[in-house]
Each structure stands twice: as structure tokens, then as C-alpha cells.
């Protein structure tokens, strides 16, 4: 089974802080990581390979440093990695990114399953996976919490409002995965040494014969007009009485006064 996993290198947004005085983002010291949901996607792919054989290929679009993210996936056990990188891809929104990635995946050869994380933690758009599936004319099943492969059929438990939808489709399919599906393995020492010695091929816009109108800024319908820090809710009232009993009594009184209850 040929599995392609799409990964993104992201700043660890859980480490980002806001400067309380200037109200700006403090980016310093924020590490670049493999998007956590994509790491889960890699884990799922590795587990499927262990069960059904085949190959796991990881692909990422990003600046040259994104090769580090791919190395981490190789260290976890992925067979091959490809970095799609070119200044011409710069400024891509989700539509242009999905185009560049789907064109690259076509170049990689036949694929049975594409796995993406449900969303990236920096943009949180959850759009690139479905965009790739659309460009490749592949069905999609998003928010997968369980995947089973039987021959050329895939069965997925899809996370839904109050439970799961059990979906079935014939491969090839694009799935996006949620956190509960698997716990990503740690890369091993040997895998890391091997990954470190692997030259990751870099594909440019010319390599994938991309339509220049559909990549980078020209291929991106959306434009960021302005960035600003969200306005905070105003701070409310802190209650710190002598005992918990008194604190609760005070809260109930305040809630009553404000007609919340």
C-alpha cells in the first residue's frame, strides 16, 4: 500500500506568548515543530504499513528549513520524504498550497491513501487536505478516529457531533485524522541517525511543472489585510474570602445581583 502523508512545519503556538505591555506577539524562542496532528498522521501511516506492507512517503511544502520536519518523520520510520520548496510558492493560501501539494503527489506516482492531520496548529484552517483530495479527484473522509483497511476498501470512524459515523469507501481516499486515533511514536536513535544521512529531494515549481498562475501569491485568492492582537475581555471580579464557603456565598450573591441566575 502506497501511503502519502502531508506534513507542515509550524511554530509551536502553545509556546507563543503575548507581551503584556506592548500587546504584541513574542516569537522569540518559539521552536519549530512538526504540526502535532501531522505527526499523528505519520503514526497512523506507519501502523498501516506495519499491518499491510507498502511504503510511507511524507511530503511538505515550505521553506528549506522544513526539511527538519521531514527528517523527524523519517526518524519515526517513514520511507521517503519530499520537500516542495521554491520562492515562487511563497505567500500561498490554502488553495495554492493544495494545488502545489496535489501536483507533487501526482508526480510521486500511484497512491492508495493520503493522510493529513485534521488541521495545522498555526493556521487551524483544515482546508489543505480536502483541497488536495478535490484536485486529485479523490473521495475524502475527514476527522478519522479509527481506520481499517480491508483489501482495497477503507473503513473509517469519523468523529461527529455526538459520536462517530462509520464510513466506507474504495481506495484511493484522502483522510484527515484526529488526535485520539493514535499516539505518535518517538523517533529512535537509529532512525534519527539514518534520517540525518538522508538527502531529501527538493522539488521546485519547475520540477512539478506547476501552473504559475495557481501557485504562491498569484494563485491565492485570499489576502491578509491586517493582523492585530485580539481585544481581551475586561477583567472581572476576583473573590478571595477567608473560607471557600464565604467565597461561594459571595459568588452566588454577585450572580444574583447581576441577574445571571
Amino acid at each position: 500500500m502506497e501511503i502519502v502523508v502531508c506534513v507542515k512545519q509550524v511554530p509551536d503556538t502553545t509556546e507563543v506568548k503575548i507581551d503584556p505591555v506592548k500587546n504584541t506577539l513574542i516569537r522569540e524562542g518559539v521552536p519549530s515543530i512538526v504540526n502535532p496532528f501531522d505527526k499523528i498522521a505519520v503514526e497512523v501511516a506507519l501502523q498501516l504499513r506495519e499491518k499491510h506492507g507498502g511504503k510511507v512517503k511524507v511530503i511538505s511544502m515550505g521553506p528549506p528549513q522544513a526539511a527538519d520536519a521531514l527528517k523527524e518523520c523519517l526518524a519515526m520510520g517513514a520511507d521517503e520524504a519530499i520537500l516542495v520548496s521554491d520562492r515562487a510558492f511563497g505567500g500561498a493560501d490554502t488553495l495554492a498550497t493544495a494545488y502545489a501539494l496535489s501536483t507533487s503527489i501526482e508526480k510521486m506516482g500511484p497512491v492508495d491513501l493520503i493522510i493529513c492531520g485534521k488541521q495545522a496548529i498555526d493556521g487551524d484552517t483544515a482546508q489543505v487536505g480536502p483541497g488536495i483530495a478535490e484536485n486529485l479527484g479523490m473521495p475524502q473522509i475527514t476527522y478519522a478516529a479509527k481506520i481499517e483497511i480491508n483489501g482495497d476498501m477503507i473503513k473509517v470512524d469519523r468523529e461527529h457531533d455526538d459520536g462517530y459515523e462509520i464510513m466506507e469507501a474504495k481506495l484511493p481516499v484522502m483522510v484527515t485524522v484526529v488526535k485520539s486515533i493514535a499516539e505518535p511514536r518517538f523517533p529512535t536513535v537509529k532512525g534519527t541517525m539514518k534520517a540525518n544521512r538522508t538527502q531529501i529531494p527538493v522539488w521546485t515549481a519547475a520540477d512539478i511543472a506547476a501552473d504559475e498562475k495557481r501557485i504562491g501569491m498569484p494563485g491565492s485568492p485570499t489576502q491578509v489585510r491586517r493582523i492585530f492582537t485580539p481585544t481581551q475581555r475586561s477583567q472581572g471580579q476576583l473573590i478571595q474570602e477567608e473560607t471557600a464557603q464565604q467565597s461561594v456565598a459571595k459568588l452566588m450573591q454577585l450572580l444574583g445581583d447581576a441577574k445571571v441566575i
Binding site: K71, F186, P187, T188, V189, K190, T192, M193, N196
Partner: protein, 379 residues
């Protein structure tokens, strides 16, 4: 002179750091509290390959260098110094002497499973009456046809009981003094080889320490490590390497204590400002940070010398001496920065302080390190 880690070294550091942060740190307090060693946790760590970093591939290793392995000990010890020493005892004190002195057969049989993380190792040298003076060995091994018969005991043995493979030193010829000491590879479960009481310790309580007892243990000839009478040399060279491990463990403890003290000092508000705004605190932190950095340089230097196959005995002793003294000082100061909270078990600083103390004692007390260093500089 380059102070940059290589790509490989950085990645080893990251593997160990990620594992330590995600898997080791959260249970450290509980393992300390209950004096419990976690074999599953050790196995998970070994499963990543941390036990095989610095051994060749044919013996189940990753063909990495000693510095990469030292970085792993540092990272693991930041989260749990007990697990750090369990790793160090297996790799530096058990696997390494087999790698350096063992026969090909011994390497395949004993080194490989240790490097691959399937087995744990331990090192038995210390006896009730032979501590710093290792020449006073009372454990004896007497040749009897195709085997030796071993009798005696060892105390304060890290990983004892859990380990499957033991390097044990015994007197094979009392008349020859230290030249009469030989090294043997013992397996857990050999008839007559049992364990005594579990030691209750001040620190590194998540590591297991026990007594080894030998009663007429039949040790086949092919389980002698090195030649007869080579034991003392094997023990001393093994401890040279082990000291880099203890230095790295100390470094991990000191770094954890420093990081915690810095974070706390920025958050703790007294007199309307964070306590870090007081020079009294910031100067303490400055001294702590400087000690940690100096320890790091000494430790990495000793590892780099070993990697370059240059003499490192003196440098390893210096690294162990300085890093462990620093760890004790830094951890004590971290407790001081936290004040009453530092003394409370709710915060980890008192654990760092208890863990640091042993680093000044084991694998040669810091007084013994000074003997080594003094001997070297006066040569």
C-alpha cells in the same frame, strides 16, 4: 575550537529531551515518593535506542559518539536523575567494559542485548570494607577445574535485582594485591547469586540499589572479562568513563534546578514585584547559571576527549568533581530561591537537592576525584 553540537548530537539531545519531557517528568515525583524503579519506563527509554548510542552497529548500537550518549543522560536526568543513573550504570559501567575488554563471543552474548535495550546491566565493585580503597576486595573467586567458585558480597549496587547482566570483581589471587583482582560477567539467576536488602536512600530514589550476595556461585571460565588479574585496571578505566556519566547526571540535575528557580523567581511576587527584580536573587541566579555552564563545558570536553581516543581520566574526574559539587550548590540555592516552597515536597527543588548529593559520592567520592586529579597534575 568549535562549541557547536553536530546535527547528530542535536538530534540525540532532542530524542532524549522529548522523551524525558513527555514520558519521564510527570511520574518522577511519585517514583521518588514511593522509592520505585519503573522497568517499563526504562524499557521504553531503551527501546528508543538510548542504551546503544555509542556502540557500533554490529553490537546493536547506533554508531554514535560518547558525547551524544552524554547528552541523553543529561536530558533524562533533568526529568529524573534516578533513571539517568540507571541508564548510565547499564551503558557506562556494564556494557562499556564488555565492549572494551570482552571477547567477540561475550560481546555478541552480553553487549548486544544491553545496547539494544533488552537487558539491563550493573557493576559490582564496592564492598562493605572496600569503598574508595577498592583493593580491599573480600569477594573471592577460586579456580576449580572448568569454572571459578565465587563467594562474598557487594553493596550499594545500582540496578541490582533488575539487571540481567552484572560485571563483578573478585580476588582470584590474594597474594598479588590489586593485580590479583579479576572481572567476571554474571547473569541474574545463576545458582548461588542472590540479592540482599534494598537500600533506602536519600535521593535518586527512583533507581534501585541492592546488595549482591554470592554463595558458591559457579562462574564458567569463559565468563571472565579480560585476563586474570586485569580486574583492577578494568574497574578503574570503567569508572573513568562512568564519571562522565555522573557528571552529565549532575549537569541534568543542576540545569533542572536552575530552570525551575528562574521560572519561579519571575512569577513569585513579593513587595509588589517579581523576586527576580531583586539583585539578591538575580546574583544568585547568575552564579548558579555560571556554575552550570562551566560544568557543561567540562563534561562535554571529557566526552569529546574520549571520542577522540585521547587520555581523559583526569578530565573525567574534573568534570565529575566540578559538576557534582555545582549540582549540590545550585540545587541548594534553588531551594533557597523558592524559600519555604523550596523546602516543600510540592515543588521539585528539594528532590533535586537530595538527588545531587549522591553525585558527590558515588563512582569515586569527590575526595577520590581530587586524588586522581592531584596524581595527574603532579606526575
Amino acid at each position: 575550537m568549535s562549541f557547536e553540537l553536530t546535527e547528530d548530537q542535536k538530534m540525540m539531545q532532542k530524542i532524549a529531551r522529548d522523551f524525558a519531557e513527555k514520558e519521564v517528568a510527570h511520574g518522577a515525583e511519585e517514583r521518588d515518593e514511593h522509592e520505585s524503579f519503573s522497568r517499563p519506563l526504562y524499557d521504553a527509554m531503551a527501546g528508543l535506542g538510548l542504551t546503544g548510542i555509542c556502540f557500533p552497529e554490529q553490537y546493536g548500537g547506533a554508531d554514535g559518539d560518547v558525547l551524544s550518549y552524554i547528552l541523553a543522560i543529561e536530558e533524562i536526568s533533568k526529568a529524573d536523575a534516578g533513571l539517568g543513573i540507571a541508564l548510565s550504570a547499564t551503558v557506562s559501567l556494564c556494557a562499556w567494559p564488555i565492549f572494551a575488554y570482552g571477547t567477540e563471543e561475550q560481546k555478541q552474548k552480553y553487549l548486544k542485548p544491553l545496547a539494544e535495550g533488552e537487558k539491563m546491566g550493573a557493576f559490582g565493585l564496592t564492598e562493605p570494607n572496600a569503598g574508595t580503597d577498592a583493593s580491599g576486595q573480600q569477594t573471592v573467586a577460586v579456580l576449580n577445574g572448568d569454572h571459578y567458585v565465587m563467594n562474598g558480597s557487594k553493596i550499594f549496587i545500582t540496578n541490582a535485582g533488575e539487571a540481567e547482566t552484572y560485571i563483578v570483581f573478585a580476588m582470584t589471587d590474594k597474594s598479588r594485591g590489586v593485580r590479583g583482582i579479576s572481572a567476571f560477567i554474571l547473569e541474574k539467576g545463576m545458582p548461588g547469586f542472590t540479592f540482599g536488602k534494598k537500600e533506602h536512600k536519600m535521593g535518586i530514589r527512583s533507581s534501585q540499589t541492592m546488595e549482591l550476595i554470592f554463595q558458591d556461585v559457579k562462574v564458567p571460565l569463559n565468563q571472565m572479562l579480560g585476563k586474570e588479574g586485569e580486574g583492577f585496571k578494568i574497574a578503574m578505566t570503567t569508572l573513568d568513563g562512568g564519571r562522565i556519566g555522573v557528571a552529565a547526571q549532575s549537569l541534568g540535575i543542576a540545569t533542572a534546578a536552575l530552570d525551575f528557580a528562574i521560572k519561579y523567581s519571575k512569577e513569585r511576587v513579593q513587595f509588589g514585584k517579581p523576586i527576580s527584580a531583586n539583585q539578591a536573587i538575580s546574583f544568585m541566579l547568575a552564579d548558579m547559571a555560571t556554575k552550570v555552564e562551566a560544568s557543561r563545558l567540562l563534561t562535554y570536553q571529557a566526552a569529546a576527549l574520549k571520542d577522540a581516543h585521547k587520555p581523559y581520566s583526569k578530565e573525567a574526574a574534573m568534570a565529575k568533581l566540578f559538576a557534582s559539587d555545582s549540582a549540590m550548590e545550585v540545587a541548594t540555592d534553588a531551594v533557597q530561591v523558592l524559600g519555604g516552597y523550596g523546602y516543600s515536597r510540592e515543588y521539585p527543588c528539594e528532590r533535586y537537592m537530595r538527588d545531587a548529593k549522591i553525585c558527590q559520592i558515588y563512582e569515586g567520592t569527590n575526595q577520590a576525584q581530587r586524588m586522581v586529579i592531584g596524581g595527574a597534575v603532579l606526575r
